[in-house]
Amino acid sequence: MKRSILLGSILTLLLTGCGGPATVRIGFIGPLTGDAATMGKDTLKGVQMAVDEMNAAGGIGGKQVELIAEDGRCNGGDAASAAQKLVNVDKVQSIIGGTCSSETLAAAPIAGAAKIIAISPVSSSPKLTGFSPYQFRNYPSDAYRTKAFGTFFQKNGLKKIAIITENTDFCQGIRSGIKENLPAGAIIAFDEVVDPGTKDYRTLMTRLKATDFDAFVLNGQSDATNGEMAKQLRALGMTQTIIGPDSVDSDSFPVIAGSASEGVLAISAPTVDETNPKGAAFAKTYNDRFGKPTWSLYFAALAYDAATVALQTLKEAGPGDAQRAALLAIKDFQGVAGTFHFDQNGDVVGMPYGLKEFKNGKSVLREVIPVN
């Protein structure tokens, strides 16, 4: 009797000792609460889809992939502790994230120190270029976006630019980039920065009305602010061009802005191309499983691509430096959001921007703007 217990325990010890963790763990960092949560929820669902597909196809090395999601709350502090937990406690093999640029900037050094590859699906801060050798992203840097703004102003003969900026890392990056990339002869005619979350722009709009300007840059972080800006601008009878970055290009912007959203332009990511079978299949699976996206489908698609590329390289090469080499060796990865590869800085090559226009409450692709 005693012997059998002893044997049994030795056997268990042996089994657990040899087996290691029963799953391959993947981390996610993104805003799951707070104003930016609309974005974080979509990206997490995109990642979940990629993980489930990998598991259905047999997982990695015979093990199932386990996704551990942490809330980065769109700020550096929370993202840093999320990264610490994922790297040191959960021992993940790769991270999808952060989502907001402030999250990625804080998480990248922590993941990098442990030689864990992190791929951000939507962080666009120019500061991330060459920031950490283990940080990749499949979304172009805002350095290119603000150049696209400059080109747009020049093409359309817009000389006097008005801009209202919400005081966040992302919006301030857009503001300074636009100032740097103004075409010759163009000036900033109106430039105000407001507290995050401001919803009352009436007095600023009253002043703007007395200003001579050709185009207004809608530079808020979320629909709650962008929608009010557009609504209150149009309510005072101003008819100038309104254009914003990708933060404007969301499905709930026209719900908040109402008829003021008509004709608003955004230099944003390309749409999920539903005419190609891969894009159509993604859109259908997403909608069947999660319903309508809270921000927009292309953020989910970018996250799906980031996770797919991470899982594939992890499967082929294993984690750390081997995965880094595998990522850099990728040529023309056919994703749902587009076809891309990475440069030596971990920045994406091949993902274009899309000039979008709101028509009848829907964002429509007007023109594809190639990047680099």
Partner: protein, 291 residues
């Protein structure tokens, strides 16, 4: 002119919340740091009734007020009453807990997207060189009417006298046959209803987003403290004054330059701080200590 109208729009909204806070904090001395969240829930329920259930706006407003009433009743029994008796500062902690709970509840029930109660385009009126929408005009008029009735009820009716008596000296009032606990409860509920009206206001005029709650509470406190604790009229007046200061701060050039818009709130609160240095009890506050 447009600046004055802008201040009136922002002020009416702030006044609703400030009056709610004046009732519960100013008059009753109870701290309620979940007031902003209660306002948001009022707004969100109204949004839900209009956008999801498809009810007409007046019915939706009534529904929203009923839900707010129930919420306030439960909150009072669970988070305020049991603690208030032990120490008047305890509800600071419990209502902060309540505000976090409600923040979470809002996220779960109404999700993260910003919500706007009236999605259709606004009809615009031109008054001189200023522009105002019909919705805003109605909102401002209804708010001013509502607040006037509120002030009248508390100062000139038997109910108002009973409330004030209970607040000034609970034991004496009870010994004279007044139902103290009931009056306190109704005051708390009334304050939550004012807040809910504020939430509906912002949902119609602008939009509701889940992180707005604490911001609303802080602004309401500023108005109540500047107006003088215990003075409902003072709180309402100062909600309008703060709104006007905020618009003037950034709407007019001061010595040739505009103050950056980011300092809008700071400038208004700075004026309030200076005012309090001069009159620490608030402009309409009495020097007598209340309960």
């Amino acid at each position: 002119m447009q600046l004055l109208l802008n201040a009136l729009i922002a002020g009416s909204f702030a006044a609703l919340l400030a009056s709610g806070l004046a009732l519960v904090y100013g008059v009753m001395g109870v701290f309620n740091l979940a007031l902003g969240q209660m306002a948001l829930i009022g707004g969100y329920v109204c949004w839900w009734c209009v956008a999801v259930a498809g009810l007409p706006l007046p019915v939706a407003i009534v529904c929203s007020l009923v839900v707010s009433l129930i919420l306030a009743w439960i909150s009072f029994d669970l988070f305020v009453q049991p603690f208030q008796r032990r120490h008047r500062f305890l509800p600071i902690v419990t209502t902060i807990a309540l505000s976090m709970l409600l923040d979470g509840l809002i996220l779960i029930v109404f999700h993260e997207e910003p919500r706007s109660i009236l999605a259709s385009g606004q009809r615009l009126l031109h008054i001189g060189d200023a522009i105002l929408s019909v919705e805003q005009l109605v909102l401002i008029c209804v708010t001013i009417l509502f607040l006037s009735v509120l002030v009248w009820v508390l100062t000139s009716t038997p109910f108002g006298r009973k409330v004030r008596a209970t607040v000034q000296h609970p034991e004496a009032a009870t010994s004279l046959g007044m139902n103290g606990p009931l009056l306190r409860r109704s005051l708390f509920i009334l304050s939550a209803l004012c807040a809910a009206c504020g939430g509906i206001y912002v949902g119609i005029d602008q939009n509701l987003s889940p992180t707005l709650g604490m911001h609303l509470t802080v602004k309401a406190y500023a108005a109540v403290i500047a107006g003088g604790r215990g003075s409902l009229k003072g709180a309402i007046l100062f909600a309008f004054i703060i709104a006007l200061l905020e618009q003037l701060a950034i709407g007019l050039p001061w010595f040739g330059v505009y103050i950056p818009a980011g300092y809008q709130g700071t400038v208004a609160l700075l004026v309030i701080v200076i005012l309090l240095l001069w009159k620490p009890e608030g402009v309409f506050g009495s020097r007598l200590r209340s309960s």
